[in-house]
């Protein structure tokens, strides 16, 4: 596992303030779920998400990532809801004892497309943003430094731990630990996971001390080494997107009331 795989190259989308991209991802997701037309999320994906991805030049990374996660979910939804959707009337086809239902297929289409927008919006953010920049932007917008700390540290410790897992595997194999076959793998679980997790947990004591002696968690207002670029246009764009999301929610709620 790696810290969010990001493209090395640069583009106007890369240079956007991370918050702008975050608000974008949230807005398209909320909009996708807010309106009830079946094909609306697809329109949203093609009209909003896709142009951004193309502008960022990450299309070649974006689609494999998206498809790898989205296709299995979409297939599952189609199978489950196509055949087992409750309260149905129209049967499209019969396959053995199973009935393929029209309402189920429509629901599956809508759900799968919504998930595509959700994933697409966030992949765009991740592919074009340095995690450090996103975290700095969040802190500078007043998010609690502790919350930001937890997320950024988790992003870095996970890959560091993966490297350490390799070392542990070698150390145990050098002691004759068999790791081939299912039985070997199950037996190897404790000698592998034990040192890894206990090691990581015991490191916490030292790390907390190091952070505390460097002033972490004091109530003083922090300053920042890195300045996150922002423009008036982006501030306006964020407000507009926020209003769009809000409108979508309100429309949806009124739909509920009616």
């Amino acid at each position: 596992m790696g810290v969010s795989p990001r493209s090395a190259d640069d583009s106007p989308v890369h240079r956007l303030n991370p918050l702008t991209k975050l608000v974008f991802a949230v807005t398209v997701t909320v909009s996708a779920f807010a309106l009830t037309m079946t094909w609306w999320p697809l329109l949203l994906f093609c009209a909003a998400v896709l142009p951004m991805v193309i502008a960022s030049g990450t299309l070649r990374k974006f689609f494999p990532m998206l498809l790898a996660l989205w296709v299995p979910i979409a297939l599952t939804v189609y199978v489950i809801q196509g055949f087992f959707y409750p309260e149905t009337s129209r049967v499209v086809a019969e396959i053995g004892p199973l009935e393929l239902k029209y309402e189920g297929l429509v629901f599956a289409t809508q759900t799968a497309l919504r998930i595509m927008v959700l994933m697409g919006g966030f992949f765009l953010l991740l592919l074009t943003t340095r995690p450090g920049a996103l975290m700095s932007a969040m802190t500078q917008r007043g998010m609690s430094p502790k919350t930001v700390y937890v997320v950024s540290a988790a992003l870095q410790i996970a890959p560091a731990l993966a490297g350490r897992a390799q070392g542990i595997l070698h150390a145990q194999q050098a002691r004759g630990l068999p790791v081939k076959g299912l039985r070997g793998r199950v037996r190897a679980l404790v000698p592998m996971a034990g040192p890894l997790i206990l090691g990581a947990l015991t490191d916490v004591g030292d790390r907390a001390v190091a952070m505390e002696t460097r002033g972490f968690g004091t109530s003083r207002r922090p300053t920042f080494l890195t300045e996150v670029p922002d423009t008036a246009a982006q501030r306006v764009a964020r407000t507009v997107m926020g209003l769009c999301a809000l409108t979508a929610v309100v429309a949806n709620v009124f739909g509920v009331l009616r």
Binding site: L69, F84, V151, A193, L201
Partner: protein, 227 residues
């Protein structure tokens, strides 16, 4: 169709998770804050190992339960919610909507730890079952309305499909699946968390005042190693 429910589940849950985190994290001492990222990493690592082993389990909340036990319900809840965000950022955005379930797991674990359920193994396993019931019920609306009942694994999806085939509504099918699978999964999670706690150096738990204040763990963990 399904629109309002999906949106409410998504927005309500996400908002709930955000509020939980911002409320909980601010008050935590540094040692606990430093523990959280490691706990999140443990969730991810174990989740991956189990996922690739093909076992019909999740075991992706060991870290969350550990924090609940060592540092209390607020810290546990924050771990769960932030873990979903980290997984959302690194592995799949599909984890984001489940942030509230993950937070609830940590919260319940912490609450039961405070009540002393983790002092003995049988009650600890029972606590795992209770955590599982909460997790199962609360994640059902997300699975049903946001993901159209596509479960996290093929096994889960198959169970849900079976329940739907027997004429249950989508929400009911998802809830039933959760109630079948989650208690067992979380009991096993608790068992593994306890094993890990036993391997920590003796002075370690003393860095967490919650454990001392509420006598969360059995007495033998707190006495000197050598006399």
């Amino acid at each position: 169709m399904g629109g309002p429910a999906a949106l409410l589940a998504l927005c309500g849950y996400t908002l709930g998770a955000m509020l939980t985190v911002s409320g909980a994290v601010a008050g935590l001492p540094t040692t606990t804050v430093a523990l959280l990222p490691v706990a999140i990493t443990i969730n991810i690592v174990m989740g991956k190992i189990v996922y690739f082993s093909g076992l019909p389990l999740q075991l992706d909340s060991i870290g969350t339960v550990l924090v609940g036990v060592l540092a209390g319900p607020a810290a546990g809840a924050a771990t769960g919610a932030l873990a979903s965000i980290v997984v959302g950022m690194t592995i799949t955005p599909g984890a984001l909507p489940y942030a509230v379930t993950a937070a609830l797991i940590g919260f319940v674990a912490g609450t039961l730890a405070r009540a002393g359920w983790f002092r003995r193994v049988p009650t600890a396993l029972l606590a795992g079952g209770v955590i599982g019931v909460f997790a199962g019920v609360v994640s059902a609306p997300i699975t049903a309305f946001v993901f159209g009942n596509a479960g996290g694994t093929v096994g889960q999806s198959a169970v849900i499909a079976t329940f739907q085939a027997y004429g249950n509504s989508m929400l009911k099918a998802a809830s039933l699946q959760g109630l079948v699978a989650d208690p067992l999964d979380k009991a096993l999670t608790v068992a593994l968390a306890l094993t890990l706690l036993a391997g920590l150096p003796s002075g370690y738990v003393h860095r967490f005042p919650f454990v001392q204040q509420h006598r969360v763990l059995a007495v033998h963990r707190l006495v000197p190693r050598r006399t």
